[in-house]
Symmetry: D2
């Protein structure tokens, strides 16, 4: 049994992606490439890496650093992503925030529920 490799499998484990994103990325105007890039960002943020480099991100995608930078800028301009200032014990740093993405997804999913003719009355 190759313990070292298996430990890595267990410890790296899984990335949890909100079902909202998987189910509604297309509804809010994203394509698959943009969605995958946001999933990459989400996975870095999740493990406490708040500002991965273009290279970190591009190395896991089909495109290069320049294209990655362009895509990120485009996502920020369209309001899917923002960059925020963090102030952690007097150390200032920049961090990507996916809050704009989650807001769009929540509004989209909520709108669908409101619009849906309810099958039966519920309290």
């Amino acid at each position: 049994m190759d313990m070292k490799f298996m430990l890595q499998l267990v410890e790296k484990g899984s990335v949890t992606v909100p079902s909202l994103l998987i189910e509604h990325f297309h509804d809010i105007g994203l394509n698959e490439q943009e969605c995958m890039l946001l999933i990459q960002l989400h996975s870095f943020l999740n493990k406490g890496d708040n500002f991965p480099t273009f290279d970190d991100l591009a190395s896991r995608m089909t495109f290069d650093e320049t294209a990655c930078a362009d895509l990120l800028r485009h996502l920020i301009q369209r309001g899917f992503l923002s960059i925020v200032q963090k102030n952690d014990e007097q150390i200032y740093s920049e961090a990507y925030s996916l809050q704009p993405l989650w807001e769009k997804l929540l509004r989209c999913a909520y709108g669908k529920i409101i619009d849906a003719p309810s099958k039966h009355n519920e309290d």
Copy 2:
């Protein structure tokens, strides 16, 4: 507080995607569109829906049912996906299996470990 919507948020929750796929899909020759389609399949399989329709899948993607069917066939031909027979209490059914995908990813990640010059000796 809109309890009904929030219950749905909690119950639908998150899709867990193996980090192997997020980190290495490009290394094994997939592009973002193919990867997102496999993530969709994975999310259906995870909740016990073993054979989602082309329409189920395409409705969450940027392309239509025909393109979805083509892409799935292509993934099967290239050995990323298979269709297996299930026999559950005498009821036969078909199911997608992502086992070929996980095998490719495991071999890829394992190869990288073997090839990597180790920084320090470890037992």
Copy 3:
């Protein structure tokens, strides 16, 4: 490389437990034993097994089937769990529902936000 075992590791993967439960189980009056039993139930429900037996559950816990049945009944009486009728294509079946648990947790977490003196004004 022991492919069969590793495939199982990847395919079984992880159970996603709502952070609400991990962080607030004590606040809503559960102890660790009850919380673990509800996590077990959640993991069965998640993969589409809606009515695991007492034996399924007890085999993963420190207590036996009888104690398991008692604990489940107790959780139902205290409003953390319910049993609902499912009607799937004319086939009736029973299913555990964790909706009462999520409702309690949502009310608890929401109450804490309302009560918390906000650090700065936010819109």
Copy 4:
């Protein structure tokens, strides 16, 4: 729609707990209280907080800080947990490591596969 609360729900999301732990904690000699404490630790480690205080942990459990410290020491003595030195850009810090836990669980799960009489031959 209470956007602020819902954003928090989505962003906090879920804790991913390896299925190995949920299914086999009892087999490796843990009880529910110990397992829940390790799940808490895992959730802190996952989001990059490598050394939560006894108070951080105890505030989510049914016992107090002293009992929490005792339980952690006991888990370390029994080889389920370790404390390691981290050296990140010349900054030394301590971190809990769950590697001993995952090793025990992997050995346990692997042993069960080896022992199981295989239903049919597989390569």
